[in-house]
Symmetry: C2
DNA sequence: CGATCCTTTGATATGCGTCAAGCATTGTGG
DNA sequence: CCACAATGCTTGACGCATATCAAAGGATCG
């Protein structure tokens, strides 16, 4: 599904039919906040990000944002809703690679590549901001603090891929599932999105299975196992953790790989002019 | 194992006890060649890379290059020998994340992060060039073509992590193994390292198992299965493919994710000044 | 030329997949 | 507002791919 390119004047806001978060006079403010998590940005840097040209687009559940094999042109930022990244085997089996929450850039992984090597699809209905890729690349080449933040965000995402590899390759179903539940909760919280003691998992059990490398049936059984063990409480897709410490241990979850506490020092101080 | 920082004058060559490839008057030439695979570099750019300050160090098999939890300071480039990236569960199970061949940068994944989130260890004895991380970061911030190549190389590595996720999550042992054998052969070849019709797999079966998420026993059985099916011929650790097409199909191997044929256009032409 | 590491093989166990069917929930159109 | 379709969840029975345990050969190297 190729979508038309909307490219309004820089900084202009295209209101759309979906409600946007109150915080966002400019929806790219969400991205600026997210990038600031990885490397501190000055007001000037933030303005540079929010000054990027963009268009808003509402997508339905299961709409494609990126399709494998196509050349990336627009770089999508998720504003509302959830999305996921996946790859398919030639036999049609699907592996979900990552799950994305509002504010996250969806396509930095293709920023400097010529062809998309995986798909990105909406989990739910939502809004994305489409920024011409060239604008981001120009920023990377001209604004060192923003470049640092963008690259750090790419690297943190890669780190998450690595942790998922460990998860798939070495942990059993129970631990694997607990791990991802922890990761999701922690990321929601770090991005200021968790509302109370529980959160709603936006995916169904089939999708969960494709993220975990498990069959749907086994996902169901493992969920019930975690529940029976008192590690989670479920109502529909809402998950609560009676004890963070217990679920954390069950999932062998150590948040180091999310790099939430190692913001880079200001790049002004790390240039090689020693 | 923290190692002392060697930092000779820029461009100076520290001859070491190990034989270096004939091509390399300057061992960083290997890196320049590798980066040029991802984005075209001019002679000036190449010289900028080869002008980076570095120190050479010979490491023994199983020596650590990077250790999880430590702050990255030096950025290692593999000059000779093989290395691998891995993570451990708290229970001590090891997942190998990637396997590295001469010429490859080992630590770009930590270039803009404050703490290492995984380990890198030598598979064999070999030589690494250690470049101060700040020097690479300065280059990223000052030299757009080189920045493009470095970031592209990071992104291709991430793409490989994604493919490995698909491999671990969705393919059975036979296909998974065939896939990695294909990948390794293709990368060796793309980097000008394959010598004939066969190549030597530098790892033992236990390590292979940890890369595939399989037990050592099952690695052995799967190797013999591939052999019995005529997909590979083995003598010790040497692997040959009687038919590239058959092993490729068995491994569901499509090299798109390696991005060998989509070098970026010269970044001079992609700035956002439209 | 013994010690160590690596590979190979057999026997047995198990975690998870697959198949199949029923149940619950949600949305939709008459 | 009800009926029914579509989608997602749950459960049982069974099979298989892969793990684990154990031990015997090779290879390699000081």
């Amino acid at each position: 599904m190729a979508f038309a390119v909307l490219r309004p004047a820089a900084g202009a806001l295209c209101r759309n039919d979906d409600a946007l978060p109150a915080s966002a006079g400019n929806p790219l403010g969400l991205l600026a906040a997210k990038l600031d998590l990885h490397a501190p940005l000055s007001d000037v840097d933030r303005r540079a990000i929010m000054g990027l040209p963009y268009g808003l687009r509402t997508l339905e559940a299961s709409d494609y944002v990126v399709r494998e094999g196509e050349p990336p042109v627009e770089c999508a930022i998720l504003i509302t809703g959830f999305a996921y990244r996946h790859k398919l085997t030639s036999g049609g089996r699907r592996q979900i690679i990552s799950l994305h929450i509002p504010g996250e850039p969806l396509d930095f992984q293709h920023l400097f590549l010529g062809v998309a090597d995986h798909n990105i699809q909406m989990v739910t209905r939502g809004v994305v901001a489409l920024v011409p890729r060239a604008a981001f690349r120009a920023l990377v080449h001209s604004n060192p603090p923003v470049a640092t933040a963008i690259i750090a965000s790419i690297l943190v995402e890669s780190s998450m891929f690595r942790e998922w590899l460990l998860n798939l390759g070495q942990r059993d179903a129970r631990s694997r599932m607990a791990h991802i539940l922890c990761e999701f909760a922690m990321r929601m919280q770090a991005n200021g999105l968790e509302i109370g003691d529980d959160y709603e998992l936006p995916i169904n059990q089939e999708q969960f299975g494709d993220a975990l490398g498990l069959s749907t049936v086994h996902v169901n059984r493992t969920l019930k196992l975690l529940e029976a063990d008192g590690l989670i409480v479920r109502t529909k897709r809402h998950i609560a953790f009676p004890s963070w410490d217990r679920i954390r241990r069950a999932g062998d979850f150590n948040d180091r790989y999310l790099h939430l506490r190692d913001r880079q020092p200001d790049p002004e101080q790390v240039g090689a002019r020693r």
